[in-house]
Amino acid sequence: MKHFSISFIVGGGLTTLFIIAAILSFFWTPYDVELLNIKGKFATPGFEHLMGTDHFGRDILSMVMVGTRNAIAVSLIAVGIGAAIGVPLGLWAAATCMNGSRIIDELLMRGNDLIFAFPSLLLAIMITAVFGPSIINAIIAIGIFNIPVFARVSRGAALSIWPKEYISAARVAGKGSTRISYEHILPNILNLLIVQATIQFSIAIIAEASLSYVGLGSQPPDPSLGRMLNEAQTMIFFAPWLAYFPGGAIVALVLGFNLMGDGMRDILDPKLRQRSETGKASNDAS
């Protein structure tokens, strides 16, 4: 248990740090991120600029702060979209499956498979080719791929709840499957969904970084971590800090969320916790 608390504390700490930085960036950054100062370009990290400046003389710390905010915003909304559409679909599929009409379930799941079968980055590129690169299209592209994930997870979890006796009891009380899904199933799979959401969130951060790395995320002058990395690429030989800080920010952000997700799983998901305890049980003490 100790091991997991540490991961939760480290993860939670990192995440909180980034969230504070992101919120702070709404009100204050050390410098204006849209302020270009060619004369002050490539300043090395120091007192004046903690993380140095880039090729336009912009303050990297400020850009990392705003970039983090953008990454978090994109990921949150994208995961939110995925959950908002995917979870009801999954619950619906599970309900119809339990009612014996497998057609809707099959249709939904095959639809999910179809989205799953599309190479994600390619589809995102195609979506942005259709609508032009923008932060909203990045959200849509990432959001679409979250739908099947949430649909699957919630369907699977719901299917494990449906045979429970309290569901039968609710059905005996005359409750329909929609009401049962919302009253009994959803609250009981919520923990699992929250854990999944943290995982998806960290995946979305990387996806956003990849998209903006190829130039399809948020557009300049709005800073984005992925684009900063892309721009830094050719300058890494003489100004490596341009790449170290945004790259490090992505890694720390994802790491933070993953660790927190792991810790949360142990706290929130009693089944897994129980499992991990019985897991210890089979490890002998000799």
């Binding site: 079968a117 190479p119 390619l122 080719a129 990849s210 790395y213 790259g247 890694v251």
Partner: protein, 315 residues
């Protein structure tokens, strides 16, 4: 079993068919005329019209869709707008880079992840476990393109061990090609290995709680023997799923890695084709990639059956 197979194959075909529709519609709405693109900033309109006829872009969308799908059914993927060679030839050339790269990366990630996951699981909570899983966490968190850049910096420019970019072609020799693919494969494999080792570990841990492991231990097998002889195959089932997903992901997901290392792979071809509006190439490759995903899922299903006698007998 045969009806199970038949059902799978039918659903495979339907999925592909629907996929072609989705792809076609998506491609149709992509703005930007391929002909205008090819003509550039100062191309003449007359030449553009001639080109349009030459490329078969002067007919309606429905006719083009039917032509395209019917062509693919007959193994004819059409002629690339920009390269003017059969698409299938382009795909074959690129697949000769992408598929080996994928296999290589998958081999690396499996070779790292499965032992690491097993060791972690069997020494749960130990220093080894904690450090392995710490590295895995880090591996999941590092974007692969960023990792690739760091690798290039270190191996190509600092150590000058590997050639930074390009692919010499298979006729240059197997080892030379393998060397050219090594850094890209590592940068693709690391995040995958991180994910895989976590799956392997948790799957192994779960299996270790199973009653049959206790039976095996009661027989007198020690923990590791019990895990290897009775746990491994059972634990491989979720790992297989992930492996299947990773294969498809790697096949198409190497776009960025391919461009960092200047590898002429499938991913870069599609990316370039989207940019150049070589839509017939985009359509065909995306279809092919979708097909490969569906097909690999199918293979994984068959593998399940090979591992699990319960599925083999179609229960």
């Amino acid at each position: 079993m045969s009806s199970f197979l038949l059902k799978k194959i039918i659903s495979l075909i339907i999925t592909l068919f629907v996929a072609t529709g989705v792809i076609f519609i998506l491609i149709e709405v992509v703005p930007g005329d391929p002909v205008a693109f090819m003509m550039g900033l100062s191309g003449s309109t007359e030449a553009a019209d001639a080109l349009r006829i030459e490329l078969g872009l002067n007919v309606g969308p429905w006719a083009r869709y039917v032509d395209w799908v019917w062509g693919m059914v007959n193994g004819n993927f059409g002629i690339s707008y920009t390269y003017r060679v059969p698409v299938i030839e382009l795909i074959r050339e690129r697949a000769l880079v992408s598929v080996p790269l994928t296999v290589y990366a998958l081999f690396l990630s499996t070779a790292i992840a499965i032992p690491a996951g097993l060791i972690s699981a069997s020494r749960r909570g130990s220093l080894v476990d904690t450090s392995f899983m710490g590295v895995a966490q880090l591996g999941v968190a590092i974007p692969n393109f960023w990792f690739a850049i760091l690798l290039v910096l270190f191996f190509s420019t600092t150590l000058k061990l590997f050639s930074a970019s390009g692919f010499p072609g298979w006729d240059a020799g197997f080892l030379i090609c393998l060397k050219a693919l090594t850094l890209p494969a590592i940068s693709l494999a690391l995040p995958q290995a991180a994910i895989l080792s976590r799956v392997m570990r948790s799957s192994a841990l779960e299996v270790m709680n199973e009653d049959y492991i206790r039976t095996a231990r009661a027989k007198g097998l020690n923990k590791n023997q019990a895990l290897l002889r009775h746990g491994l195959r059972n634990a491989m089932i979720p790992v297989l799923t992930i492996l299947g997903l990773q294969f498809s992901f790697l096949l198409a997901g190497g776009i960025i890695i391919e461009s960092v290392f200047s590898l002429p792979g499938l991913g870069r071809l599609v990316f370039q084709s989207i940019v150049q509006r070589d839509l017939i190439v985009v359509k065909s490759i995306v279809t092919l990639l979708v097909f490969s995903v569906v097909f690999i899922t199918f293979i994984v299903d068959l593998l399940y059956a090979a591992v699990d006698p319960r599925l083999r007998e179609g229960n």
